[in-house]
Symmetry: C2
Subunit: 344 residues, 2 copies
């Protein structure tokens, strides 16, 4: 019941100034450290601010300094995977390092909604923008996205001038295949997707390269390209495992396909990892942890991509780094129980 009368009128810099017996200007500078202040005064001001429960109004602050402490994140999420959450989470953490927050918006893949989202983000005067995809792909930055720094996440932009970050797909292929090779496998299959997306292309190149480096010949009939998902995994698994000379290990394009391979293996009476080693990509814990045995995989770095993108954005804004950097993120191999030494 103490001055709380005008509860709606939040305490501002002015109130602090009055209470501390200085001018608003001094409070401002004491808070921001923008110019030298008598240490004593400074301490007093800070204490007063604390006591009064002062909380800065970022909008007002931004009005003058033309910043909003806000970055936009435009994605194409359809929320069936945890990817969006992970990427946003990384973006948030990086933004927090710059006293900023992220304004995430998804377009559901709809051009109309995307345009609306861009407008909204612009109206909020975001300091910069992350243009993100949930699946690694090539994108064209919408021309409306001008007059604001943009960094592309999990996609590469065809129209240049923007930094971008993607997983190192080639390396994923190399690492996964090498992991199988390191256990002694020589007969290694690849269950992949038929679409010519960067992920498929890169991982296959990596697969071939790792085999070549180990002087293992590629058996073309041990590469099965089907649709994605568990269904595609089952198709690929059948193609690979129902042959006389079947591989002893299969590198799967992703965890869902690996799950399909598990199903076929069970059906054929093949035990994992004794009769067949399997490795996936993605590290969707819902799958990798639930499968029996748990699935070894290469984790996709969504969190890291979000983090990198926002860090890069701020670096560009402050002029520390130039646009048009592009980063290839190394992915982590996660060892679980689906890979073992081959029987024979």
């Amino acid at each position: 019941m103490n001055k709380k009368v005008r509860a709606s009128a939040r305490v501002g810099i002015r109130d602090v100034a009055a209470a501390a017996g200085v001018s608003p200007t001094t409070v401002s500078h004491a808070l921001s450290g923008a110019r030298a202040i008598n240490p004593e005064t400074r301490t007093r001001v800070l204490a007063t601010a604390e006591k009064l429960g002062y909380s800065p109004d970022l909008r007002a602050r931004g009005m003058r300094s033309s910043r909003t402490f806000t970055v936009g994140l435009l994605s194409d999420t359809i929320a069936v995977t945890p990817y969006a959450g992970q990427l946003i989470s990384g973006a948030q953490d990086a933004a927090a390092l710059h006293q900023s927050v992220v304004l995430a918006l998804d377009s559901t893949g709809d051009k109309q909604r995307e345009l609306l989202g861009i407008r909204t983000l612009m109206d909020h005067r975001v300091d910069g923008l992350i243009y993100a995809r949930m699946w690694h792909q090539e994108v064209q930055i919408p021309p409306e996205l001008t007059s604001v720094p943009v960094v592309v996440a999990n996609a590469s932009s065809t129209n240049t001038g923007h930094s971008s970050v993607v997983p190192d797909e080639h390396r994923i292929g190399v690492d996964a295949t090498n992991h199988l090779i390191s256990f002694g496998h020589k007969k290694i299959g690849f269950a992949t997707v038929a679409t010519r997306v960067p992920a498929a292309l890169g991982r296959e190149r990596g697969f071939r390269q790792a085999l070549a480096d180990a002087s293992i010949d590629v058996n073309e009939s041990w590469i099965a390209a089907k649709s994605t998902g568990a269904k595609g995994g089952r198709e690929a698994g059948r193609a690979l495992l129902e042959r006389e000379d079947r591989p002893t290990a299969i590198f799967c394009f992703n965890d869902e396909m690996a799950m399909g391979v598990y199903q076929v293996a069970a059906d054929l009476g093949l035990s994992i990892p004794d009769d067949l080693s399997v490795i996936g990509v993605d590290d969707l814990q819902l799958i990798t942890q639930a499968l029996l045995p748990t699935l070894s995989t290469v984790a996709l770095p969504h969190y890291e991509m979000g983090h990198w993108a926002v860090s890069q954005l701020f670096a560009e804004i402050s002029g520390d780094r130039t646009a048009n950097d592009s980063e290839l993120l190394r992915c982590q191999l996660v060892q679980r129980d689906s890979v073992a030494v081959p029987k024979e």
Copy 2:
């Protein structure tokens, strides 16, 4: 090359006013429709604004009207499920209906980070706040969260005064069980979790109620409470299926546990749905669509909860609705291929 000289100086209401030969006030009102304007003038102003590529500065607008067109969303996400994305997505869509955006922040379950998040959100002067959990639970609203309207999503608040929205767990139990009953099952098991969370309690009550309503006796040894996840599902599945008098159908606490039951069934040579019907809860498509046969389930309404929460928030802000409403959301039964008529 045309006036674009001062590209950084965005066109504002003033520029539009000058170009249209009216005062800024008129432009403001023409834009907002807050007061009557000569239709002709209005049209001219709007056209000018469009031509000049005017985009309102929401911060400035909010400065005067003390709104930010922004709602905060504080969650405890650990991003292994797509839930967060779904809830946020619902929140975004509802916010868009009020020309607002959502500022999502997660605390990773850390009290310290949560406090920081609250501060950040407050500094950004969000118009309201959604306090969300990814797993249905009871929460206590942090005392710092005062001076701003709060709605709780996927949790119920012990300290009153806030509206909240949760799934109707009892109904989930009833609907899932009834679904099995409708196929003719009488020997129905329940694979659940041992923790006394609202979801487990409610679903079990619903399970019992549905059986009672159908005059089917509950066989207590057909209720197995284990840990969650596929592992718990396997344990529960073993407990239920390795008996002489085994149930012909199992209602699983969630999809992951259902996956565990699938694994045990396969191990015991039981075919789904011929020898055993299974139904889950969650509708995690990564699992439900990947399992063979695809899993029937009851979908958790994360999108809807996000949507409801934000709608309620705006209703409270505008005074249309009072705080302290609480909503029980009906969940959708998703029929797939894991339920069939029992053999015998």
